[in-house]
Symmetry: C2
Subunit: 594 residues, 2 copies
Amino acid sequence: MDSLPRCGANYVPLSPINFLKRAAAVYASRDSVIYEGLRFNWRQTYDRCLRLASSLCSLSIAKNDVVSVLAPNIPAMYEMHFAVPMAGAVLNTINTRLDASNVATILRHSEAKLFFVDYQFVSLARDALRLLISASSAIPLVIVIDDIESPTGIRLGKLEYEQLIEMGNPGFVPVELKDEWDPIALNYTSGTTSAPKGVVYSHRGAYLSTMSLILGWEMGGEPVYLWSLPMFHCNGWTFTWGVAARGGTNVCIRNTTAHDIYRSIALHQVTHMCCAPTVFTLMLQDKETTAEVSFNRMNRKVEVLTGGAPPPASLLEQMESLGFRITHAYGLTEATGPALVCEWRAQWDQLPHEDQAKLKARQGISVLTLDEAVVKDPKTMTSVPRDGMTMGEIAVKGSSVMKGYYKDPQATAQAFNNGWFWTGDVGVVHPDGYIEIKDRSKDVIISGGENISSVEVESKLYTHPRVLEAAVVAMPHPTWGESPCAFVVLKKGTGGSGDVSESDIIDHCRKNLPKFMVPKKVVFLEELPKTSTGKPLKFELRALAKGFMIQSEKACNNKPSSTPANKTSWRTPAAYNNAKQQQQQPQIMAQSRL
Amino acid sequence: MDSLPRCGANYVPLSPINFLKRAAAVYASRDSVIYEGLRFNWRQTYDRCLRLASSLCSLSIAKNDVVSVLAPNIPAMYEMHFAVPMAGAVLNTINTRLDASNVATILRHSEAKLFFVDYQFVSLARDALRLLISASSAIPLVIVIDDIESPTGIRLGKLEYEQLIEMGNPGFVPVELKDEWDPIALNYTSGTTSAPKGVVYSHRGAYLSTMSLILGWEMGGEPVYLWSLPMFHCNGWTFTWGVAARGGTNVCIRNTTAHDIYRSIALHQVTHMCCAPTVFTLMLQDKETTAEVSFNRMNRKVEVLTGGAPPPASLLEQMESLGFRITHAYGLTEATGPALVCEWRAQWDQLPHEDQAKLKARQGISVLTLDEAVVKDPKTMTSVPRDGMTMGEIAVKGSSVMKGYYKDPQATAQAFNNGWFWTGDVGVVHPDGYIEIKDRSKDVIISGGENISSVEVESKLYTHPRVLEAAVVAMPHPTWGESPCAFVVLKKGTGGSGDVSESDIIDHCRKNLPKFMVPKKVVFLEELPKTSTGKPLKFELRALAKGFMIQSEKACNNKPSSTPANKTSWRTPAAYNNAKQQQQQPQIMAQSRL
């Protein structure tokens, strides 16, 4: 039976490009992309992508060349997810929140041949290109994307996106994909370290991830998908390709404002959207449009897939009362977006809201195309028991995991140690098989031999009525080695920080946390420093906290115990767990990395 | 980027076995299989499969050996879908409605090493084995499957299924799958020629088909799936594997009776089931239990995927009024089950019931993992226009298409001509991209969901001493959808037709064919209408047979009709279309082959 041959009829390389070809055939006249007054159907989108792909080939783009793009969630950005691989090239979407230096680093490292720049980011792109010129680096050919709906005339070089579409050949035959292992996309991690890494996806991995996210989220037919998640995040968590697979409609918005979100939902009867929980905060703050959406209330709920951080219970309740149904996912750039989805179980419907929120804040179970997601001691390779207590590092394997880091064999080998991809996140497995993250390995605070999850402390800070945002990091301590230091932003318009003191916050923590986990210092900030993806920059906060060591001994009344400063890190989960098991059951308050 | 290596972390061969491993991890305590008073959860099912796989290895089953099974929809049949490939072997499920001669042919051709036989089919199996012995063919080792719930003690040889489970090692490590192209299953077509063909599925193809059927049918989480479709049909249209992928519950039933279907739906809150439309007829006829199910009406509808023939409008309406929501699919053994699904579109909700039924009776659009499904002129390779009128042959390609026919390179090459798998079905494409079948090149008769080879019946007719010529076609039947109708020309000079009656011929067939293949009507003709090349014009005979439906239930008044002169065959779509276009708009009278 082995001798039966592969042929064109029974073996076609897996590629998400096929989703577009199929959509053009079977969903031809359905709306594919809506953007302001514009509206394309799937046949038109396919036609535009073929034209663009042919123009890329005319510009001498060859197999595996990198095509970079700096753009918001506009039709051009969507189309490039198909047109670039149809030309045999690799799509590199760049985070628009980076600075010129980061952008230049990515253009240089990726050796981009073409650089598509939305008119809104021309100034950022120009600065990045100047950096390349001054370093005598190769300069990619630049193509500006003007606003197709209301042209601005802004230019950076001679070429414009719509010209390429117009000049292109709709009869173009896409470059044949011979091996599904070929690269389709290159996504740079924002990285909490200074050097971003280029994560390479294969056509196979992108295809399988797309399938498993549609399945995990149960996104049915004819979705109307609102682009509230940047497409530059893991290719929109693969929903760039997924909406084509489902013959859905992409509702593009240039800026992720509450107003535009509400307006689009009401106007286009949006059924699905993805976003980080911070977008919920934006939406809830905009009270006027909240009233508007209540007025325009749809018959069906809007499904929301969220990740990047677990959705706090109060946010969940407020959002769900507005008609949103929220699903929590966890993933990483390296796993092609979500790797775990917190699949809801019917039996949970009967539980109190608070318990539901706790269950929903867990990261969940592996998506279908991951072979396995486990929590292991990376040294002994033993899986932790399913007790919701014992910690280990989360590791995944499967065909939806990245090919590796571009031009970085050492980092690739390290990430793929022992046949697993190691996420760097520390978590537990609950008796029902659901995984919950306790911390980033490097954010664990080691105090007097005890490991403290910064996330756990933060979750208690959030229960204080005046706390808007909180981040906890390690602060050097002469006796304990390290102690928790809290950075807090208070809610506005309720009296400022004047009426909440450091000792108020510390008292609050004392009532809710084991003594050793109580922050030894609380610092009030106007805002937290954040990464381009909106995560607190703990790297910077740790640098700040270093200066607080001496003061910390005054502010708090700590009785130094005889416990030596045990430097055991989370990397030896055994020691971590020993300490843990003497304490209470860990709180449900994890943080994911999407 | 091409140099990034595949490794255990990022490249795992696709196999539906992984769905069970994952289900055991993330849906561990959910019900996996229910059968009468028995109930397993996913961890137990995984454990039982590991044990069985280890026992198979102990019985010296090696990589790619064939393991055959003759059983109804019982837990053992389900478990073998995982355990057999976990032992590296290939599962061959045999249609239990075949006769001993067919079963012996399959055992011989497949070179089965093991033969699992449910106690209900011991007599059929014994007859088949005797045929093998008398032909000095190799005899597989036989293992009887007793009723785990109410043991009967019936034996055929020494081994019994539950013993293998008991003796097995739950710590067994499944035989490593190195190549996803390796075979997982071997399914014999009943075939339109007398020689059944062995269709080989790869792990990859089975995996992808499973994914796309869950997606195409939108089977969500926690389904309760009733086994009203035989698992021996394309591995239960892949839902053997699919229910594990979704962490659902398999409700097994030994016999597909209306009573058992209604009882299971009410008892287990069934959400999903598959069946041929003839099962609807069964269900509607059983009025008492219909009343019962109305009384036990569930809160949610039961989703039904049907295929094998388009569901007639009246049946649809009656079934849907009972609380069933029906989706129509079309497929073939060679396409690993459904290849097209008639995806419902929200806009059709507004149409009158009759129009809805017509739309639903179409075969639909390609499933997601098929690369393409087209309707082409096989000679010119031109696709037909999307006019709902012009006919061509349906062809598909993609990774869910079979590896090929076992030990039949010629038939394989023919089926895969020009890079497509040619279905042998003639159809049209509607303006909305939905495919509808108009006729079949092969004259399969679909009776009660079973494919009957007209050639096979004809060959038995030819063994009657008085039969000169015979042609068998489908005749409409109120219960079975279709039944075989035989047209017979008797030998001259031996007494004419006067001394051979219809019942003589039927009696002859009863002695030589499985019951369901016996013609329900025999028509004596002076000569058969034929093509120029001397082949019977089955097109014309079918037209004749249509008139027999009502009479067929009463008695037979055979008036040999005059032979029409139309020489058109579907194999020349151009000629066919010319003829067709002179007629009315084509009737919705399609037939699919699942």
